[in-house]
Amino acid sequence: MFAPSHFSAVLLFATFASVVFGITQRSTPKAMIHYGLYCWSMFVGVVVVASWVMWLIRR
């Protein structure tokens, strides 16, 4: 049984999804890496921001 923390699950999800998005949505290796990193930072960044927003709402 695999029981990651919520944040670890987010990091795994972002990594796997970003690899696929990078490869399928761009044509050149350089553009793939750039787009993959962009997607990854967006996945994780939005989660971090949303988490802080929920924390502020709760207070």
């Binding site: 049984m1 695999f2 029981a3 990651p4 919520h6 699950a9 795994l12 999800f13 990594t15 796997f16 999804a17 690899v19 696929v20 998005f21 490869i23 399928t24 949505q25 761009r26 044509s27 553009a31 787009y35």
Partner: protein, 136 residues
């Protein structure tokens, strides 16, 4: 989201044989469609990503949807799971993906499995576009 994939003005077939082989093979085995078109590294990365997502999802006690005519979300979940191709068949054959939920992240596992299938659909279509020369 606008795609920046380079698209030739006119679609051209780049190889002989069955036109949809990359699409079908890519659906059955993640990344295999890219390997068929000669993109080994891309195929390997896609296989690692999608396979990891699927099997980690099951390891997180995620659920495998079965054919159903009930709730709309369940039907969509089944459609997503189907994208995993042979992995889904293996999961059903070995009776995985319906254990009693014991951890809070099991719902994430279900999402991992569904999203892995959806990502594999995208991957298979990309392989098909490479095969027919729509993408370079």
């Amino acid at each position: 989201m606008a795609s920046k994939v380079q698209v030739p003005a006119k679609t051209q077939t780049t190889s002989q044989g069955f036109l949809y082989s990359a699409l079908i093979l890519g659906w059955l085995v993640p990344g295999a469609g890219h390997v068929l078109t000669g993109r080994w590294v891309r195929g390997l990365l896609l296989f690692i990503s999608i396979a990891s997502m699927f099997w980690l999802g099951l390891a997180m006690q995620g659920k495998l949807y079965v054919p159903n005519t009930g709730d709309v979300l369940d039907m969509l979940g089944f459609a997503g799971d189907l994208g995993n191709g042979l992995f889904y068949a293996l999961g059903r054959i070995f009776d995985l993906g319906h254990g009693a939920v014991q951890i809070a992240t099991a719902d994430y596992g279900t999402k991992f499995v569904v999203v892995a299938g959806l990502l594999n659909f995208i991957s298979a279509v990309d392989a098909h576009n490479l095969r027919i020369g729509r993408k370079v």
